[in-house]
């Protein structure tokens, strides 16, 4: 009993040390630091949007439409005279919410199906892999456009599910490969030998050993999902107006680009700012965790 406790203690300690080690490495990396700072800023923007924004983002003022940046309107106004700065602040909420929700959705489905595919019987594996390949055979943005058009609705839940669905095969394939690697390990064979159920083995023994690469992939997918959502909104297939989102700001900017370039400049600048932040942090995280995952 005594020795078991000490063993547990040591195990816990190494786990904590591992986490500490990773965080140390991430923050040692210059780009990791910059990325972290950028993301903190965006999260603060999203959380404190109501306090930071000088105007109501939906407040229309047609007399003062398409104004350039000034002291009263930091980033100018859009085609309805709404304050672009306030809309960008509120838009960060949409971007973060959809990207985090979609990545969670994709990784959960991908993990479950990937584990089943890697751990289950060969026939099941074949069927599931063909299914993943079929989803992947749709060019992802075109697939999302098709689904949204066909469903005839767009909004945060639809976008989350559609984007999550187009991204999940990546996770499924990664998790499947990881599962296959772990499958042959002694501790799994012994877990099987003592008669543990397959579900318990999958969630208790396989999952903890494969979740690392999954988290890194999720971190690296967030910027691409943010861009994806902005692209859909830019086409008019994203969140419904008047909800402010960066993609719709860009769309309005594009439609009025001859009269005022400011919406495109600020909306686009914001998008670059955020995607860059997430990418820097994601890469630093990956390098700290395992540099071999570079080709993820």
């Amino acid at each position: 009993m005594e020795s078991k406790n000490t063993l547990l203690k040591i195990a816990n300690k190494t786990k904590k040390m591992g986490k500490f080690f990773i965080s140390q490495k991430v923050f040692k990396d210059f780009f990791g630091k910059v990325g972290f700072a950028l993301i903190v800023i965006v999260f603060l923007m999203a959380i404190f949007a109501p306090f930071l924004s000088p105007y109501d983002p939906d407040q229309v003022n047609v007399i003062n439409k398409l104004a350039g940046p000034s002291r009263t309107h930091l980033m100018g106004t859009d085609h309805l005279g709404r304050d672009v700065f306030s809309r960008i602040l509120y838009g960060s909420r949409i971007s973060l919410a959809i990207s985090i929700a979609a990545v969670t959705f994709a990784s959960i489905i991908g993990t479950v199906l990937g584990m089943i595919s890697g751990y289950g019987s060969e026939t099941l594996d074949h069927i599931l892999r063909t299914f993943f390949d079929i989803i992947r055979s749709f060019p992802s943005l075109i697939f999302a456009i098709a689904v949204i058009i066909m469903l005839g609705t767009s909004g945060i839940p639809t976008l989350t599910i559609v984007i999550g669905f187009t991204y999940f095969p990546r996770y499924a394939r990664l998790i499947r490969a990881q599962t296959l690697k772990v499958k042959k390990k002694e501790y799994l064979i012994s877990a099987k030998a003592i008669g543990q159920s397959d579900i318990k083995i999958m969630f208790k023994h396989i999952l903890p050993n494969i979740k690392g690469p999954m988290f890194i992939m999720a971190a690296m997918d967030i910027p691409s999902i943010i861009a994806f959502e902005a692209g859909l909104s830019f086409l008019g297939l994203g969140v419904n107006p008047p909800t402010p989102s960066w993609g719709t700001i860009l769309r309005n900017g594009y439609l009025n680009i001859r009269h005022s370039p400011w919406m495109v400049i600020f909306g686009g600048g914001m998008l670059i700012f955020v995607t860059l932040g997430f990418t820097f942090l994601g890469e630093a995280l990956r390098d700290a965790y395992d540099p071999r995952l570079k080709n993820l």
Partner: protein, 314 residues
């Protein structure tokens, strides 16, 4: 090699078939009756019935599915119900524009990306290498439609160097190339970053291989070692990523084509869904999926050609 080709071909066929079935299911999910949606609320029941019969919507679902797939393989993608044009002809008319755009982007990516990557690898950890790395990360993370918007704003509207919209006068090759420059750069510039990073890391990896040392030991000039030996091994991951990237390019092309009002598959889809012209959306999607599958197949097969190790491994 032959069995590899057959197997890959079968896999491609299954994928395309599966994608068609999925597409068909999606179409079934369209809320409401496609005929009445298309004709609007004021259409008479008689007219709706006619259109339904013409679209085959009065048949049982499995007949519709069979017919859907059969027609696709015959090359018949249906007719644009609004003005009776054949969807296949519409697509054939715009497809060259999209293919030109995608090819030009990949060309730009390889022509600029490979030298930058090799350069970065040879001068690794110098300031120039760091600047290049930083630039390529920034370029990769920026969505391509933003490049489209910025290029449009800067080079077309502000400086007036390039045309604002369209695909160029048909038949006039120079004019078409002139119209291709901005969209192709906008779409391809991210891939310059990708290719550069990829080439950098794989060149670094290859340089430590034994056969490179052997080549050097033989007294080959550095130029030949790089171009004949290092690059040949290092190019493989690039081929892989370009295959995957083609799907991405097709998706990105929708946005770029919309921004530059350039005719193409993406612009066709965009316009068709705005007018709820479902047969056109369907047909264009089928072609996009098919193209994607074919390119992926060739990518997989080209591994075998470039790298004999893969062929032998089979």
């Amino acid at each position: 090699m032959f069995s590899l080709i057959i197997r890959r071909f079968l896999l491609g066929l299954i994928t395309v078939l599966g994608a068609m079935i999925l597409l068909f299911i999606l179409i079934q999910l369209v809320p409401g009756d496609p005929a009445s949606i298309m004709l609007g609320p004021r259409a008479s029941p008689q007219l709706i019935e006619n259109i339904r019969a013409r679209m085959g919507l009065d048949q049982p679902v499995y007949v519709q599915l069979f017919r859907f797939i059969f027609n696709i393989f015959r090359g018949d993608l249906g007719t644009d119900v609004l003005n009776q044009r054949s969807v296949s002809t519409m697509i054939i008319n715009v497809l060259p524009y999209t293919i030109a755009l995608a090819t030009a982007s990949i060309f730009i990516a390889v022509v600029l990306g490979v030298p930058l990557g090799v350069y970065s690898a040879f001068y690794r950890n110098t300031i120039l290498d760091r600047i290049l790395t930083f630039a390529s990360i920034s370029i990769i993370t920026t969505p391509s439609f933003l490049f489209g918007l910025f290029f449009l704003l800067l080079f077309s509207l502000t400086l007036g160097w390039f045309p604002v919209m369209g695909g160029g006068e048909s038949g006039n090759l120079l004019d078409q190339l002139y119209h291709l420059v901005l969209p192709a750069f906008a779409l391809g510039i991210r891939w310059v970053g990708y290719v550069a990073r990829l080439i950098r890391s794989s060149v670094l990896e290859e340089m430590h291989e034994d056969y490179i040392r052997t080549a050097r030991a033989k007294g080959l000039s550095e130029k030949i070692v790089i171009s004949k030996h290092v690059l040949r091994g290092a190019i493989l991951p690039v081929v892989a990523i370009l295959g995957v990237g083609f799907g991405n390019l097709l998706g990105g092309a929708v946005l770029i084509e919309v921004i530059f009002h350039r005719p193409g598959l993406g612009y066709l889809i965009y316009n068709a869904f705005r007018t709820r012209n479902y047969p056109v959306v369907q047909g264009a999607l089928v072609v996009a999926i098919f193209m994607y599958a074919v390119v992926n197949m060739f990518t997989d097969l080209s591994y075998g050609l470039i790298d004999p190790r893969i062929r032998k491994g089979e």
